[in-house]
């Protein structure tokens, strides 16, 4: 019997049949079908398109409206130009008419639009945790209770404390003073963790009460940055980026500036330096004294008064270099350059350094005549000065003593961002009435009696005075989304007592102050109403002011020049994070997901240590490091950062919030428990730190090795494969064709496609690009890039269309960084197009490599075949996937640019050269009956770039800027040998080093 006969001959047995009957089977099928049908009905309601019944005059559906205003994300108060569609803001850019930022805006400013639509915003007034009641409360009830309690404070002599940031608005400051007049027991306590008190104090020591100067960076031929990240987070970085880049513009400028950077941590400025040296922050003051000694005493190159000689006498440069391991050749080049560029160079010290170091820097600038670069036309205008630690301490002591009857938090979060040593949270419990006027719930709001929802900056009025001759206006570009009020209007209402609240309260106050206190002095030949409209239209008013006479350097300052001993043991160096500020942007997913310019880490802060220090501490990447200071103890994940000074632990502030919202809570480690109270007096170092290896590990998400063109463990691959091309200024002068000689014309067996009319191309000048990431933020907002979260970044699935590649060459201790913005190269012979089975990616007649999302079936062949690794795949509907659908909630979809498709799961996407902007421009030309010549189109990254490193346009127009860039001697294409014919041209980076230093 064969094996097949066994079952055939087996007797039929009904008992062995499956127990399910035909009817049951059909019932199950029907139920399954019903479930499947029901499951498919859950698509979100897309709303209805309804016509205007009363169309506002300014709004034309489908046509964008622009408003000028001011960004309040930090103290720079940059002018903004806000694009709105059908009444909702969708994009923030710089105001081109603003004299400070000139049309540019940093990553924080651009991404801050997401905060307007943050679902975690407060929508109605609410009782806080310390109130007798809980839940929502009406504004009327709050007003009645607060006015009564404030009046009680006035009667009983109890203090009222207004805790606010160092305001830059003259009208808001006037208002606070009037509030003080109404309630005389009021005390104003401005503060900011990210203060620059050391520099201010040093300036006062050296120049008395002379105004703090603005540096004419564009005129500086030489810059020496001492622990200063002036291209990253320090000062007016947007303006500084622009002006610094203007000094290395190979197309426009006849000179090329030189940047020396001496630092302990690794900053964006250090990454752009021609010479970078690592030095412990506590040795910086002595380094400057040694430079002074070399210049004044040894070389006798400048007049050396006795006080100066006395201060610098014992500090020789040679001994300093040998004891701190600085390369003597480079330091001697530095001294030569400082002397050769007298009156044309500038030495800057960062906010992390001590007062003594800042004084030494002021003296060095003075003896070299560099103070000529302190701009004579404008100075930094005064706002409220941040309080000192003693002032904060005295206010907190008053709270603890019960002599404060009410605390009003005016847009600050001291429970989180004051050093924990102040014990502010405990003191708050002793205050009967505590109010948080905030946009969203925070650590401070959690402990208050009332949480009062405040307008977002895009819903608010204001004026900002950060330069003596510039007033920047802030106007609302959308009516309040919720039952919120402007902070200033709330105070005005409480000053007036029991009257009805009006939304226009602060507008009227602001206008009235300008009409009565400012306008008459301007002697303008127009009525105030016209002036006001024009001011709001322009967003800025310039009032020429006679430049103040800078006083001479005070001898007391020179006498105070000294250095503190170089610290033994470990030092904590804390810094402002590149994108989160003092933690205020923690709940902004775009900014959390912005890679750190140097480490490329997202969604975390960490303890950076040098390789030697890591070895000494016995820690490696992702280990935990417990850092203990006199104030407290915290544990950070370790990031081993080459190029850092030894015995330094560098950490970023702004992380570790516990009540920031679903996106920002619990991200990173809070550094405030480590800081002493004196952190509020300037300087950002804590000495005598005890660092030990902690238990466990913490995986950091870094994008450094994602989408890499590099091959692991091949040293200098980026140079060998000619991804990065570099030389020195001198070598380029001697041989301008060094790069173009490398170009080879590739023969093709097929007929080349001829592009008639417009053909789009981009050029990126690597000499100007500082890697600030403003372009990434601009692209995110313009193109509706989703936030994916840390787990997806760890899987290499971040979605940003433009990334800044960072490469290191050199040694572990002295790495030489290069960076390169990498986006779709829009290749003529695009390898992605040939492999797409559905022709979802194809070529347009104007040279764009375009994506048809509806055709894409997600094979990812294109991504596999792209040599630049710039395609991004939607592994999920990330809006739904991230943080339990946080960014699918009401009203986040309002932030989407309606001109760009919102992509869903399973679709490939990539840079489009902002095709929506091209189409809009093309449409305008057609409407006006003009031939479209491609002029005037700006991509979002180009518009954002503060250094003007990105050029875009029609390469077929020989007179266009892009055509000139493409023909430049320094122009090259990445991976040119592949013959994919990219349309993004990079201009090779030149390092302005002396010739003996290899490029």
């Amino acid at each position: 019997m064969s094996e097949f006969d066994t079952d055939v001959t087996k007797a039929f047995s009904p008992d062995e049949l499956p127990p399910i009957s035909r009817k049951q089977f059909l019932a199950l099928v029907a139920a399954s079908a019903a479930f499947a049908t029901a499951g498919c009905t859950g698509y979100r309601d897309k709303g209805e398109i309804v016509p205007y019944t009363k169309k506002p005059e300014e709004v034309t559906p489908g046509v964008a409206n622009y408003y000028a205003s001011t960004c309040t994300g930090c103290a720079q108060a940059c002018g903004t130009l806000i694009k709105t569609r059908e009444g909702r803001p969708v994009k923030l850019d710089g105001n081109p008419d603003h004299p400070v930022n000139r049309g540019k805006l940093c990553a924080k400013g651009q991404a801050s639009i997401l905060s307007l639509y943050d679902p975690a915003r407060l929508r109605t007034p609410r009782y806080g945790a310390t109130a007798a009641k809980s839940g929502d409360v009406t504004w009327d009830e709050v007003d009645a209770d607060v006015v009564r309690q404030l009046a009680d404070c006035r009667t009983n002599g109890k203090g009222i404390l207004i805790v606010c940031p160092p305001l830059t608005s003259p009208t808001a400051i006037t208002l606070l003073n009037e509030f003080k007049a109404t309630y005389p027991t009021t005390r104003i306590l401005p503060y900011t963790l990210l203060n620059n008190q050391a520099s201010r104090k040093a300036w006062e020591e050296c120049y008395g009460d002379a105004p703090y100067p603005v540096i004419a960076w564009e005129e500086a031929k030489l810059v020496l940055a001492l622990e200063s990240d002036f291209l990253g987070t320090d000062g007016f970085s947007t303006e500084q980026n622009r002006k610094f880049a203007a000094g290395r513009d190979i197309m426009q400028s006849d000179y090329f500036n030189r940047l020396y950077c001496v630092e302990g941590a690794f900053s964006t400025t250090g990454a752009n330096a021609d010479y970078r040296m690592r030095l412990h922050p506590s040795a910086q003051a002595e380094f400057v004294l040694s430079l002074l000694n070399e210049i004044a005493a040894k070389r006798k190159a400048v007049p050396a008064p006795a006080a100066l000689m006395a201060a610098v006498g014992s500090h020789t440069l040679a001994s300093f270099c040998s004891s701190h391991g600085l390369p003597e050749t480079v330091v001697h080049h530095l001294v030569d350059d400082l002397l050769a560029n007298r009156r044309k160079g500038i030495v800057v010290a960062g906010p992390g350094l001590s007062v003594e170091a800042h004084i030494a820097v002021h003296v060095l600038n003075e003896v070299l005549g560099n103070s000529d670069l302190y701009s004579s036309s404008t100075e930094l205008a005064g706002g409220l000065h941040p309080s000192t630690s003693a002032e904060i301490e005295s206010a907190i002591a008053a709270m603890n003593a019960g002599s404060i009857g009410a605390v009003i938090h005016f847009g600050v979060n001291p429970v989180f961002d004051l050093p924990r040593a102040f014990t502010y949270a405990a003191a708050l419990k002793h205050v009967p009435l505590s109010i948080d006027l905030a946009e969203s719930e925070s650590e401070t709001g959690q402990l208050c009696t009332y949480l009062l929802p405040a307008h977002h900056t895009l819903e608010s009025w204001g004026d900002h005075h950060v330069r003596t001759d510039v007033y920047s206006f802030q106007q609302p570009v959308i009516a309040p989304l919720y039952d919120t009020r402007q902070r200033e209007a709330v105070l005005l209402h409480w000053m007036a007592g029991q009257t009805a609240f009006a939304e226009t309260l602060y507008l009227a106050y602001l206008k009235n102050r300008w009409e009565t206190a400012v306008f008459p002095g301007l002697h303008r030949p127009v009525a105030f109403a016209a002036f006001w409209n024009a001011a709001l239209h322009d967003g800025v008013v310039q009032i020429p002011t006679a430049a103040g006479q800078r006083s001479a350097l005070r001898q007391e300052g020179v006498a105070r020049m000294q250095h503190t001993a170089v610290e033994e043991g470990m030092t904590l160096l804390w810094a402002e994070p590149p994108f989160l500020g003092d933690g205020r942007f923690a709940n902004n997913g775009w900014l959390q997901e912005m890679p750190n310019p140097i480490s490329k880490i997202v969604w975390d802060n960490y303890a950076s240590v040098s390789p030697s220090t890591a070895h000494a501490l016995g820690v490696a990447m992702h280990d935990q490091l417990t850092v203990e200071t006199g104030a407290g103890k915290q544990t950070f994940p370790v990031f081993v950062q080459s190029g850092m000074a030894d015995n330094v632990v560098a950490v970023f502030a702004g992380y570790g919030r516990w009540n920031a919202g679903p996106v920002g809570s619990g991200v990173g480690v809070d550094i405030l428990p480590l800081l002493p109270r004196t952190a509020m007096d300037g300087g950002r170092t804590v000495s005598q730190v005890h660092a030990t290896k902690g238990t466990g590990t913490h995986k950091l998400a870094t994008t450094q090795e994602h989408h890499s063109l590099d091959e692991t463990f091949v040293k200098d691959f980026h140079l060998k494969r000619k991804i990065i091309r570099e030389s020195t200024v001198e070598q380029h002068k001697q041989d301008p064709t060094w790069l173009s000689r490398d170009r080879h014309e590739h023969e093709s067996i097929s007929t080349e496609v001829q592009y008639h009319g417009v053909k789009w191309a981009m050029a990126i000048d690597l000499n100007k690009c500082t890697g600030c990431h403003a372009c990434v933020a601009g692209c995110n907002v313009e193109n509706n890039i989703p936030i994916v979260g840390k787990d997806q970044v760890l899987a290499g699935r971040e979605m940003q269309w433009i990334r800044i590649d960072r490469y290191f060459t050199g040694t572990m201790d002295d790495p030489v960084p290069s960076h390169q913005p990498m986006l779709c190269q829009q290749c003529d012979n695009a390898p992605c197009e040939n492999v797409c089975p559905t022709v979802a990616t194809n070529h347009s007649p104007d040279g764009l490599n375009q994506m048809v999302y509806n055709r894409c079936v997600g094979t990812k062949y294109c991504s596999n075949n792209c040599p630049f690794h710039v395609r991004r795949f939607n592994f999920f509907n990330f809006r739904d996937h991230f943080a339990d659908g946080y960014y699918e909630q009401e009203p986040v979809s309002l932030v989407h640019n309606p001109e760009v498709t919102v992509r869903s799961r399973g679709v490939m996407e990539k840079c489009t050269f902002c095709t929506q902007r091209i189409m809009e421009s093309r449409q305008h030309a057609a409407e006006q009956g003009m031939t479209f010549d491609g002029k005037g189109v700006q991509t979002a990254c180009q518009q954002a770039c503060p250094a003007d490193a990105i050029v875009f346009g029609n390469m077929n127009d020989p007179n266009s800027t892009i055509a000139q860039y493409r023909e430049h001697d320094l122009g090259y294409h990445v991976l040119e040998d592949l013959n994919v014919r990219p349309n993004v041209t990079y201009l090779a980076r030149l390092r302005n080093t002396h010739l003996e230093k290899p490029a």
Binding site: G47, V50, K55, D538, Q542, S893
Partner: protein
């Protein structure tokens, strides 16, 4: 041989039970969808501003006192 009563009745009964259960299940399911997924009612403002998906409860309006860039400025640069 005639069929017994019990042969006929259960078939009818089971069919009715099945449809009854299936109908009830479907009705319950459809009723639960809005609760589970979150009911979003499409609305519009008095100025007729169409609201994008998921934003129906937010009223989007331009600010009446703001001055847009697209309007012509009537006075020289200030």
């Amino acid at each position: 041989m005639s069929k017994s009563t019990t042969d006929n009745q259960p078939a009818t009964f089971r069919r009715r039970t099945f449809f009854g259960h299936a109908g009830g299940l479907l009705a319950g399911l459809f009723a639960a969808i809005p609760v589970v997924r979150g009911w979003r009612q499409t609305g519009s403002t008095d100025t007729g501003t169409a609201s994008p998906a998921g934003s129906e409860r937010v009223k989007v309006q331009i600010h009446p006192q703001a001055v847009p860039r697209t309007s012509e400025r009537s006075v020289p640069y200030v």
